[in-house]
Amino acid sequence: MAGQKVLLVDDEVEFTKTLSERMEARGIHAHTAANGAEALEKLDAEKFDAIILDMQMPGMDGIETLRRMLEKNPDLQIILLTGYATVGKSVEAMKIGAKDFLEKPANIEELVEKIKLAGNERIALVEKRAEESIRDILKGKSW
């Protein structure tokens, strides 16, 4: 699990700063973004094993951010963090393609466990895509 990289997206900067410090202590490299637009920019620049996304943010909300992230890369492993007021929206988010959700405040060990699972799933997806790609190349060959 060591070396996994996550992106924490939440407008409560003090929260993301503290959570990232706690994650670093558990061997996870945590990057932060204070809104959906910043998160999308970071996704263009780097690859993440998992994204922890708050549902209610100023400007682009969690659902819109989720939609745009999955448009960029449908294989992204996105875990939602939601306050109790947005559980209905979380169900909608799962239908759109979020992998999981946790209610705020989340237990750090549970969150780390979900990041670990998301990371494993991402690796499995990358391997599957590589295999499909090789199969397509082989199909195109004339022998």
Binding site: E14, F15, T18, P58, G83, Y84
Partner: protein
Amino acid sequence: MADQTDREPRDADQALRFFGRMSASVSHELNNIMTIILEKSGLMTDLAWAMENGRELNPERVREIGESFSRQARRGIELLKHFNHFAHSVDDPAVTFELKALVENIARLAERFAALKKLDMKTELDEAGLNIHGDPFAIRHIIFSCLEAAMAPLAPGGVITISARGAGGDALVHISAAPPPEPALPREIVDSAIKQARTQGAFLDVTHGADAVVMTLTIPRGAC
């Protein structure tokens, strides 16, 4: 002011929805505050574990965490103080109250709605008191409806300004949206606010200027 028995049943439904929206918003913000406090306390535990395992701890880190606890607790206390005033506004529908304190109260509670739309909210109130006799909850509801109407069409970066002043036997509350929003203010919310104002013997007017759309709520000061 109209007798409260004049209210139609729909007003009671709207009032309950308004109370529910405020309660949901405040509880959501409090949950965010408690989440930060919980993470900070988790960080303290992590640091204690690190110290037990031989790591040196900079006292500045402990001070920073303590200041964060204090900052978040103060944020929560301030929010709860405003929410408590708001909750008590339903106690008596015919009471003398200070309008500027009421405006400040509802503006503070509406800040989160503005922040979610990335709008800037300004409150312009001078020191002089402005006493009104009436229903403090109903007046809050009308002002919030105006704020909601002003916020709905504004693009991020827009500015909502709320001010209050006396004018003879009346009190005036101005809620402005700048730049003038396009599309216009939502008719349904404005009409509902006009109707609510009438039930309180007040009057709501909307003017479209070059720099802003301004809603002016004129409230008779009653026995004050």
